[in-house]
Symmetry: C2
């Protein structure tokens, strides 16, 4: 028999527990019972904070999505040549991901079985689309190569960026550092790995 903890949760701290359980068991595989056990409070205490597990999912993926969309409204994403804006957005996307690993992990695993999941998938597609539009603008301005399919390149770019959730764990002073990681992603995608002789600019 487990002794129920006194409910000192806020919707925010309950969310931290829920996201961990969703990522461990999958959203579909998580019941209110699992959440109640993990949080150490009764199901009715959880219902005191939220309407149910779908509300927790919505809050969690919203946090990841809000972080990503906020990047698009930052001055660095709004001003200057399209190439500078797309590099800025790439760098900041990596940073948001590193700051919000559990939330972005959950977002990336969303499958589309519920209304909230379908909404999250739709928002993800919209974000990818906004970045693809920036890339197209950079092609039109002559700064990105015109011989690469932009839809495919965008998918591959996000494939690389999103793969970080598989192994990146925040660790002060650990390898790689956050800045090094963001720099390397931007370098790889935009400059490539080949030595060109002008890499000191």
């Amino acid at each position: 028999m487990t002794t129920a903890k006194r409910d000192t949760y806020t919707p925010e701290s309950l969310l931290t527990v829920a996201v961990r359980v969703f990522n461990e068991r999958g959203y579909d595989g998580t019941s209110m019972e699992h959440l109640s056990k993990a949080a150490g409070i009764s199901k009715s205490s959880i219902y005191h904070h939220v309407a149910g597990k779908e509300e927790l999912l919505r809050r969690a993926v919203s946090r990841a999505l809000d972080g990503l969309f906020a990047v698009l409204d930052e001055p660095g994403a709004q001003r200057g040549r399209a190439i500078e804006r797309v590099e800025y957005v790439t760098r900041r996307t990596v940073e948001v991901l590193m700051a919000e690993v559990p939330y972005v992990t959950l977002l990336l695993r969303v499958r589309g079985n519920t209304r909230t999941e379908r909404w999250a998938l739709e928002r993800r597609r919209e974000f990818d689309h906004r970045v693809a539009e920036l890339m197209k603008a950079a092609v039109a301005e002559g700064d990105l190569r015109a011989d690469v399919d932009i839809r495919l390149a965008t998918r591959l770019l996000f494939g690389m960026v999103n793969s970080l959730v598989e192994w990146y764990r925040p660790q002060p002073g650990g390898f790689p550092g956050e800045e090094q990681l963001a720099d390397t992603v931007v370098q790889l995608v935009f400059e490539g790995m080949r030595a060109t002789g002008d890499q000191d600019r």
Copy 2:
């Protein structure tokens, strides 16, 4: 009540069914009962072919690993400058992945709970290490930039390549074509997206 199908399976065709179920339910979440239902034959018929679900896992991930390691023994991976060999290996890795989507998907999801899973993780690390060694050789020969951390670049490269299993489905004449996909990955990683003015060479 389900009518059991007459057992016309070979170990090979049984493997196809098992890999599908493992990818749908997760290896841990799959029981012999699930495999028996999906194959439409009794559990004892399955035991006639294999010792248990771990043998099926081992056969499945071996198929993916054998495909990947075979690339390293091909002439294109053995001869010439390191940069040409590493580009060759990247292209062929994409091709193996596209040809073996379900098997590579399973390999990438292996977590390390059983001996077979730990063995598979060890083999994956060995493959990544072999590619990282090729990259280092290309840096030493002056063809890859020296200002990028190779361990990190290798992780990001595989992050991009492995992300293909999330969305790529073989489809004759579909978008993107296999060759276009392999070309684009190699271009992105080695040449980058930036227009350089010498892309017609």
